[in-house]
């Protein structure tokens, strides 16, 4: 029982990370129709920026803001320089462009930061929190709090602010949105800024758990994408639920099947969902489209 609970707790921590990455995929896909393959690189940029600043003696709150800022700035520039000029191109071309962006950011990060992983300690020091026999690291608590905060803030933004509503309108019906005077170009930029900013923040929060390295992005991006697909790819809430589900599945597989096969199992899930139920496993009523 304790073992089951422990893998549940571990799984939920993993899942919260996947969820945050998945949300980024959903935001961009909904507004632009693009699967942003480079999504994981912004997470890496956030993590690397924060690690560098913290190592230079900057405080965590400032490092957090810088992580968001750098990731979103790069995301915005990429949207303007590489994505926008190719609008109207085929889906295939757009996928390839985001892959190119992903490799480029990866290579540049390698040149700037080198191959060695870096890290800083948990936000709050101390022993793991005991939860009915299962241990929950303090940083995991931060990850959960961060996930909840982002989910809440997103909900508020999309449902309560003019920009958020405009973005939703753009996702539901681009032509009608255009007639309402909503610029799809601006919304595409906003979606990239928002998604890459969230990715940067996620990277910063994850450093104490995963450490930061130039190639940390892709594995997380793939799982985040899986999370988004499980959730149906169009709803942020679905992506969060999908992420938690995937995390728990992966942790259980690692504990009860074989830790060596947990990655293969995660991607078998992705393959099966994509091929058999591309509309997603979860049909969340309240999960409105962005």
């Amino acid at each position: 029982m304790a073992e089951l609970l422990q893998s549940l707790v571990t799984g939920l921590t993993l899942g919260a990370m996947y969820a945050m990455v998945g949300v980024g995929f959903v935001l961009i896909y909904n507004v632009t129709g693009i699967i942003n393959f480079a999504q994981g690189e912004y997470l890496m940029l956030g993590a690397m920026t924060a690690v560098t600043l913290v190592a230079a003696g900057v405080g965590l709150p400032l490092a957090f803001l810088a992580a968001v800022g750098v990731a979103a700035a790069v995301g915005g520039v990429v949207e303007r320089v590489a994505i926008r000029p190719a609008r109207g191109a085929s889906i295939e071309t757009l996928i390839l462009i985001t892959i190119g962006v992903s490799i480029t950011l990866n290579g540049v990060a390698l040149l700037v930061w080198g191959v060695n992983p870096r890290r800083y300690g948990p936000f709050t020091a101390g022993p793991p929190v005991e939860l009915a026999g299962a241990a929950l690291s303090r940083q995991s608590v931060w990850v959960f709090a961060f996930t909840a905060l982002v989910a809440g803030a997103l909900w508020w933004f999309l449902e309560r602010t003019t920009s958020g509503k405009a973005m939703r309108a753009c996702a539901m019906n681009p032509e009608a949105a255009m007639l309402q005077g909503i610029s799809s170009s601006r919304m595409s930029l906003y979606a990239f800024l928002l998604a890459t900013g969230i990715a940067g923040a996620t990277g910063m929060v994850l450093v104490p758990i995963t450490s930061a390295s130039y190639n940390m992005g892709l594995p997380l991006a793939l799982r985040g994408f899986t999370a988004a697909v499980i959730g149906g790819l169009v709803s942020p809430l679905g992506a969060i639920a999908g992420g938690l589900l995937l995390g728990v599945a992966e942790a259980s597989a690692a504990r009860f099947v074989s830790s060596g096969l947990k990655d293969a199992i995660a991607f078998a899930v992705l393959f099966a969902v994509l091929v058999l139920r591309p509309q997603g496993l979860l049909r969340l009523r309240l999960a409105s489209r962005v």
């Binding site: 699967i35 462009i97 040149l111 994509l274």
Partner: protein
């Protein structure tokens, strides 16, 4: 193009092999060993061009079939003493069968979903290679693979191996040309332009796509076998997502819709990345790791934004436009010839 031009083109292509070999002695960063990898990459990329350029299916899992070829060769020759050439053929059969199965599954979806499904397949195989140690040697890999031999002829030197690989690239391009320039090729190009119209012309769209996917996988399998016999050691590292992406970049930069895309892309990218491995450390002190990735990524984005037909495709297009006497693209026609909104694969 008239036949003398065509013949000249092929002659140039065949001779490019020895010419590269001669160049390898002159340029500091190019060795005949690198050229073997260049030819292997080119061969796999020709197959990927068929899949992506002619069946219109983005594949992010091409390295999986490369792995099947390599592991079939490695396991059969090192483990069971099977002659390399037989192992190579066995690898093709296995990869073909795997591709047929995967294709039937993934062609139920399209666009992003298809791309990500091929990616997932590639990763499943990659992680399985590391896990099933008794068969594959696990992450430590598997060594003791003999050099390629055909009868009493052995590819013992880099030069020999490269010439053999280059001959296979030429053969591969020839076969690809034959397929493209046939009923199947036309059916595939038609499917790429309008799947509905192709179906209504009697094209069995699924069979055509599966057929070309399998054919493309065979190229990767042969390339994988060549790799295993050249390096004589295989480990999962070589067959991961990065390899799939490398094939993808080579094919795209060379030109997806041209049978020449594979070799052209391989030559351009290998020369560029080898040169960059020399040049980058001059600017960035202490650069380590696979930083030539930067070049791959940049070249890919630039090529896609500036000439989306790739290098070989762009040259072929310019040549045809010259032949027509009229430059520039034709005026867009009808309402849906222009920016139709990108369809989402799944209705919300």
């Amino acid at each position: 193009m008239s036949w003398p031009w065509r013949l000249a083109g092929w002659a140039l292509f065949v001779l490019a092999g020895p010419a590269l070999l001669a160049l390898a002695g002159q340029v500091p960063f190019l060795t005949s060993g690198r050229l073997v990898f260049l030819a292997i990459t080119a061969l796999a990329a020709v197959g990927l061009c068929l899949i992506m350029g002619f069946a219109g299916q983005v594949s992010l899992g091409h390295a999986a079939f490369y792995a099947v070829g390599a592991y079939a060769s490695g396991i059969l020759t090192a483990g069971y003493g099977v002659p390399p050439i037989v192992a190579l053929l066995a690898g093709m059969v296995l990869a073909g069968a795997a591709a047929a199965g995967v294709a039937r599954a993934v062609f139920r979806v399209s666009g992003h979903f298809l791309a990500m499904a091929t990616l997932a397949f590639g990763l499943i195989l990659y992680y399985s290679l590391g896990h099933f140690r008794t068969v594959t040697g696990g992450n430590a890999g598997r060594g003791g693979i003999p050099k390629l031999a055909i009868g009493s002829w052995e590819a013992t030197t880099d030069t020999r191996m490269f010439l053999l690989c280059w001959a296979l690239v030429v053969l591969g391009v020839l076969v690809a040309r034959n397929v493209v320039d046939s009923r199947t090729g036309r059916a595939l190009r038609a499917t790429g332009a309008s799947e509905v119209a192709a179906g209504c012309c009697g094209v069995n769209v699924v069979r055509a796509k599966v057929g070309v996917f399998v054919l493309g996988a065979l190229y990767a399998a042969v390339a994988g076998s060549l790799y295993a016999h050249y390096v004589t050691y295989i480990a999962p590292e070589e067959f991961g997502l990065l390899k799939s992406i490398q094939f993808l970049v080579v094919a795209t930069v060379g030109g997806l819709t041209s049978v020449w895309g594979g070799p052209v892309g391989a030559v351009v990218l290998v020369l560029l990345t080898e040169a960059s491995r020399e040049a980058i450390p001059l600017f960035v002190e202490g650069a380590t790791g696979p930083y030539e990735l930067t070049i791959y990524g940049l070249v890919l984005v630039v090529v896609l934004l500036l000439f989306n037909r790739g290098i070989a495709g762009g040259i072929a297009h310019a040549w045809r436009a010259r032949g027509r006497g009229g430059g520039g693209d034709p005026e867009p026609l009808a309402e849906d010839a222009t920016g139709r909104p990108v369809p989402r694969e799944v209705a919300p």
